[in-house]
Symmetry: C2
Subunit: 240 residues, 2 copies
DNA sequence: TAGTGGTCTAGACCACTAG
DNA sequence: TAGTGGTCTAGACCACTAG
């Protein structure tokens, strides 16, 4: 049972939306009407409406009113972290190598750097028992002032690696998830036959000013790894 | 430039967090201190803090104070919709068939039904130009009262299919994303060689009471389809 | 006991909408 | 012009925390 006035109001309106009493696209009563209906102050009503808006149930249009949002079940929360995904069955991480290289065309494009900007390449292999099951390659613009400490690199997530130059709070990340048949360096590293199905997660990190600060791919043996996501609809209101 | 008082306060505190003036785990000044510091009322300060909390920057502990959250770059927003993903290059959807079957063991487990509960199976094939590139199978508990209209089924998303029995607002969805080598019915339907890498998205839908109301898998030819996700950190505050 | 965040009220002014 | 949501204020009481 909700213990506050605004929680009771949220629950009541949420149920009216669910039952279709307030239908998608339609206007719900004005704040002043709701004040009278629930015998609450406008601030309390507004607190309830703010929660409903956060939960994706309604939206407000100044000068007009609050409207029921059309349900959108497309949004999902994906919890991804190259260390976590394998939690429970990662036994060993091997740092295959750290190199400083002249950027390839692909790297110049991805990291938006010029030819003279050297790049750090980090290659790692994740093991479950004795089998390698994930091969990870990351590229970072090389900065002479930033020391490369192998012990740190070995166990770091991508955001942690770039955090030396960019505060974690302002980091933006883009993931691209796909499936590929194993070939080239990843096939050799993972010791799978050619064509083995791999789940590939490409990560691209941006600084506060939207400058790329890291790019990389991680290749998981398909049978070892799945990503899980849950629809985010009304997530927040349910929590409240 | 922020036009309201609370937006200016949010921006100021956000920068202090970014610069490390307010460090992760540490307490920020109390609401009353902030009232004095910014010359604003407590409600305005609280509005700012609420936005910062929504954005994941801080959290509050009653009786103690507000604290800077440790950065978490693991959360991502994934926009998934079996129709949208292929937007731009889907030319045809073929409804391969709609059948009513006695549930297999797997279906009994997934949908938490008993042996006597029949199940509707829907199979579709998505084409780009002349090539099939996605094979979709969905299972729904069969309900005699709900008519099966083929024209509706052909173009519906999974939530739309179950919306006949469950309001869309209360729907919860779980996705499991993986990579598999093509085999069996999906290999035949997609007309790819055996072992071809497929991106597989499993969808499971739950009603308000957490009862499974749909289960299915969609198999994408790896070279045709990628899922994109972006880190959700401070998404909301940036918008504001 | 002093201080903290959480809840709630009454009241004011604003820009905007729509008849 | 009447009504709407957005912003902001001053003030009150509460349960909880920590010395």
């Amino acid at each position: 049972m909700a213990s506050t006035i605004y929680e009771r109001i949220v629950e009541d309106i949420r149920q009216k939306i669910n039952k279709g009493i307030y239908a998608p696209g339609e206007m719900i009563p004005s704040e002043n009407s709701l004040c009278r209906e629930y015998g609450a102050s406008r601030i309390t009503i507004r607190k309830s409406l703010a929660l409903l808006a956060e939960g994706g149930f309604i939206y407000s249009v100044p000068g007009k009113g609050s409207f029921v949002r059309k349900p959108n079940n497309d949004f999902h929360i994906l919890h991804f972290n190259e260390m976590d995904i394998i939690k429970g069955h990662v036994d060993k991480i091997v740092l295959l190598g750290v190199k400083i290289i002249v950027p390839t065309g692909e790297l110049i494009r991805q990291l938006k750097i010029n030819k003279n900007q050297k790049v750090v390449v980090i290659r790692r292999l994740f093991y479950s028992k004795k089998d390698p099951f994930a091969y990870d390659v990351k590229y970072l613009p090389y900065d002479k002032c930033k020391p490369i400490v192998e012990e740190v690199i070995q166990y770091a997530t991508f955001p942690e690696l770039v955090s030396l130059s960019t505060p974690l709070f302002s980091l933006r990340k883009e993931l691209t998830i796909g499936a590929e048949n194993a070939q080239g360096e990843e096939q050799k590293a993972l010791k799978v036959e050619k064509g083995h199905s791999l789940l590939v997660v490409e990560q691209k990190l941006f600084s506060d000013e939207d400058k790329p600060v890291g790019w990389g791919k991680i290749y998981y043996r398909g049978e070892y790894c799945h990503l899980r996501a849950v629809s985010s609809f009304n997530e927040r209101v349910v929590k409240a």
